[in-house]
């Protein structure tokens, strides 16, 4: 009988330990899962800002990516796998074999990019990559200006009479935090002594991009193009404190109370079992 009781005690403890080990392992698994995430893609949008290429088709890794992509157009952000990608641009309908530009771009996991097709001459096409940051600024709007007009030189963005940012060709400003509402923007070229204008409504929790494209005193003419996207907020806090301090002298944690009661019963039974097996 003693032997059998002893076996039962050890067997029971083994079962308990197995249960706790399973529980411990179970609790660790989500961390491993988080590390093993494989869906962290990159995001790219493209603006056609090369005045010397008409409506074009864009190919990525040899596959059609955009068709009939007109000068001054901006795509929305598209997901692409991180890593190197071969980007080719050809006049519309000519096919990838007639690409006027072939370039390999490397995009990082989770990276967000604006890719501008630029060029100062028909034989001098290029892709310019800007790393974007579309994070939200609570309740405000964010704004960034890109200077992609080849002969615009240094250009200054104004909101009414207020100077906001100055950028040279192939540059983008830092992100500006703006009040929401309607704005009348102008962008002046110092070299050309000319100004472009654009009316836009900046909405809360959005990111607006203003692009200067085209040729001053040329074709296609210089103009401002805007694109507005919803800002990306941070992750919400959707958890709660599992053991908050009791308020008003009341137990606000019924689950904790149940757990403590079960532990007290279990502990008492277990102690009695051990004592009885020794006697």
């Amino acid at each position: 009988m003693e032997t059998k009781q002893s076996r039962l005690s050890w067997g029971g403890l083994a079962l308990l330990l197995s249960g706790f080990c399973a529980l411990t392992g179970f609790l660790l698994l989500p961390v491993i899962s988080a590390r093993a995430s494989t869906t962290n893609q990159a995001f790219v949008r493209i603006i056609h800002s090369s005045p010397f290429v008409g409506t074009a088709d864009v190919f990525v890794d040899g596959n059609p990516f955009l068709t009939s992509f007109a000068f001054g157009a901006v795509t929305s952000y598209a997901a692409v796998p991180p890593g190197p990608h071969k980007v080719q641009i050809a006049l519309v309908g000519k096919g990838v074999g007639a690409a006027a530009l072939t370039e390999t771009l490397n995009v990082q996991p989770g990276g967000v990019y604006t890719i501008a097709a630029i060029g100062t001459a028909p034989t001098n096409l290029n892709l310019l990559v800007f790393k974007d940051d579309n994070k939200a600024a609570s309740g405000t709007a964010r704004l960034r200006v890109y200077q992609l007009a080849p002969n615009g030189g240094w250009m200054t963005l104004h909101d009414g009479n207020e100077s906001l940012a100055g950028v040279n060709y192939q540059q983008a400003s830092s992100y500006l935090t703006m009040d929401t509402g309607a704005s009348s923007f102008s962008m002046a070229s110092t070299a050309k002594n000319k100004s472009l204008s654009l009316n836009a409504t900046l909405k809360a929790n959005t990111v607006t991009s203003i692009f200067a494209v085209g040729m001053f005193n040329g074709t296609p003419g210089a103009r401002l193009v805007s694109a507005q996207v919803a800002a990306t907020p941070g992750m919400p806090d959707t958890g709660s404190d599992p053991a908050p301090l009791p308020s008003n002298g009341q137990w606000s944690t019924p689950w904790l109370l149940v757990a403590l009661t079960l532990m007290a019963i279990g502990g008492t039974l277990f102690t009695r079992r051990l004592l009885s097996s020794r006697w």
């Binding site: 029971g12 529980l23 179970f26 609790l27 989500p30 609570s138 959707t238």
Partner: protein
């Protein structure tokens, strides 16, 4: 007789404790994600000379239904909190879900996002307590204020540390019509007053009527 009684009590005792362990296991808020490998594709996007911001419409999502985990919850519109993070429902924090109203409307192009609490203060379940049980193929429905019912299918389930979450992917992927559900997961970190992880359930629209 006495020996049989003792043995029976021992068995009952260990069974009780083992059940307790298994119960904790089943109720743990930290579940394992299925290590789904997404199948990213390069999707063409149409040129948009001037993109518009969040839809300015009186149409809004009314109710979220997830049959696999018995969720049938009202949807509140939520914005961004003072930290720049997605806000959570305020009308009924534990029973309601929150749609990010500055993002796309569910059923329109882009990634609509709905969040919900995992648990209440003290640890008892809230609306997304069982979200971790969803698997690829499960159905998610949204009733919209115009009477439409949108049916989405789960494509992926992922856990992220909040500071390393792919925000553009969750909120800004406009290559399709998506609905992404978010709640908390992992251990509670007292000094940060948040859980260690966030759970994101990715879904894709399959029908609308």
């Amino acid at each position: 007789m006495s020996r049989q009684s003792t043995t029976a009590r021992q068995s009952a005792f260990y069974t009780l404790l083992l059940t307790l362990c298994l119960g904790l296991l089943a109720c743990s808020p930290t579940d394992t994600a299925r290590l789904a490998v997404s199948n990213p594709t390069i999707t063409p996007t149409g040129p948009a000379s001037t993109a518009s911001a969040a839809p300015a419409s009186s149409i809004h999502p009314d109710r979220l239904l997830i049959p696999a985990i018995q969720v049938n919850a009202p949807i509140e519109a939520v914005g961004i909190d003072r930290n720049g993070d997605l806000a959570t429902p305020t009308r009924n924090p534990w029973e309601d879900t929150g749609w990010y109203a500055d993002g796309p409307l569910p059923g329109t192009q882009g990634s609509a996002v709905i969040d919900g609490h995992l648990d209440r203060p003290g640890g008892s379940p809230a609306v997304f307590w069982l979200l971790r049980q969803l698997r690829a193929g499960d159905m998610v429905k949204v009733h919209v204020s115009n009477g439409a019912t949108l049916r989405f299918q789960v494509t992926d389930v992922e856990y992220y540390e909040p500071q390393n979450a792919p925000l553009q992917q969750i909120f800004g992927d406009s290559s399709g019509i998506y609905l992404n559900l978010i709640t908390c997961a992992g251990d509670w970190i007292p000094n940060q007053h948040q859980t260690k992880l966030r759970l994101v359930v990715y879904t894709r629209l399959i029908s609308s009527h």
